[in-house]
């Protein structure tokens, strides 16, 4: 596609429910990143994929958070048993690679706004 797309654009859920957030990266981009942005804050790194592998999961806040990527394309971020503190914008980005100069520009999607009531 022309850019990174994310769905849904908005999600309202009740505390304790599971949610799945989807990211479609730019075609051909092998690297994919998930970030979280709380209101008025900067971006907080969650996880990145090179291909279908996730070498760095260090930013995942707890074991309620997981992500997977298939076909070196679509990625899904799953939050189980959501809590109110999970409310934030979840941003996905992709880049051509995670190696060398091709990792340097990350292209972001519009984000999914998650509200946990």
């Amino acid at each position: 596609g022309a850019g990174v797309s994310q769905s849904p654009s908005n999600k309202v859920t009740e505390k304790g429910k599971d949610v799945e957030l989807r990211c479609d990266p730019i075609s051909g981009h092998t690297a994919l990143y998930w970030y979280r942005q709380r209101l008025g804050q900067g971006l907080e790194f969650l996880i990145y994929f090179q291909g279908n592998s996730a070498p760095d999961k260090s930013g995942l806040p707890s074991d309620r958070f997981s992500a997977e990527r298939t076909g070196e394309s679509v990625s899904t971020l799953t939050i189980q048993r959501t809590q109110q503190e999970d409310s934030a914008v979840y941003l996905c980005a992709s880049s051509r690679s995670t190696f060398g100069t091709e990792r340097e520009t990350q292209y972001f999607g519009p984000g999914t706004r998650l509200l946990v009531l």
């Binding site: 990174v4 690297a31 990143y33 970030y35 008025g40 804050q41 900067g42 971006l43 907080e44 790194f45 990145y48 090179q50 070498p55 760095d56 930013g59 941003l91 980005a93 880049s95 995670t98 190696f99 990792r103 340097e104 520009t105 990350q106 292209y107 972001f108 999607g109 519009p110 984000g111």
Partner: protein, 113 residues
């Protein structure tokens, strides 16, 4: 611990003036630093990258400086326009081999006509 700080207060300037935004970092030796623009309800958009061995980088009305001794980057927008109003984020590449970026909290810029 590693920390990146940007002006927390919004910056309000008059159209035509130069806007200067600051990014300071501690406990970090980044290979490069990036600046992104973020409009409300949108994801960040890449603007400029400056490497540790570069002092200054320019792109049209944008200029970035990088002082690894002071651990500081300055981002300038000359001849500012109301369309430049947005939040500007600085980001440093993490120490691992991936493209993980560490972001500052952003500075909101408002350019008044």
């Amino acid at each position: 611990s590693q920390k990146i700080e940007q002006n927390s207060e919004a910056l309000n300037i008059q159209e035509g003036k130069t806007a200067t935004l600051t990014c300071n970092y501690t406990n970090y030796s980044p290979a490069y630093l990036q600046w992104y623009r973020q409009d409300p309800g949108r994801g960040p958009v890449f603007l400029l990258l400056i490497r540790e061995n570069e002092k200054e980088k320019r792109k049209e009305r944008l200029k970035v400086t990088f002082d690894t001794t002071l651990k500081q980057s300055l981002f300038h927008i000359t001849a500012s326009q109301p369309a430049d109003s947005a939040t500007y984020l600085c980001a440093l590449r993490g120490d691992n081999q991936g493209g993980k970026l560490i972001f500052g909290q952003g500075t909101e810029l408002s350019v008044k006509p």
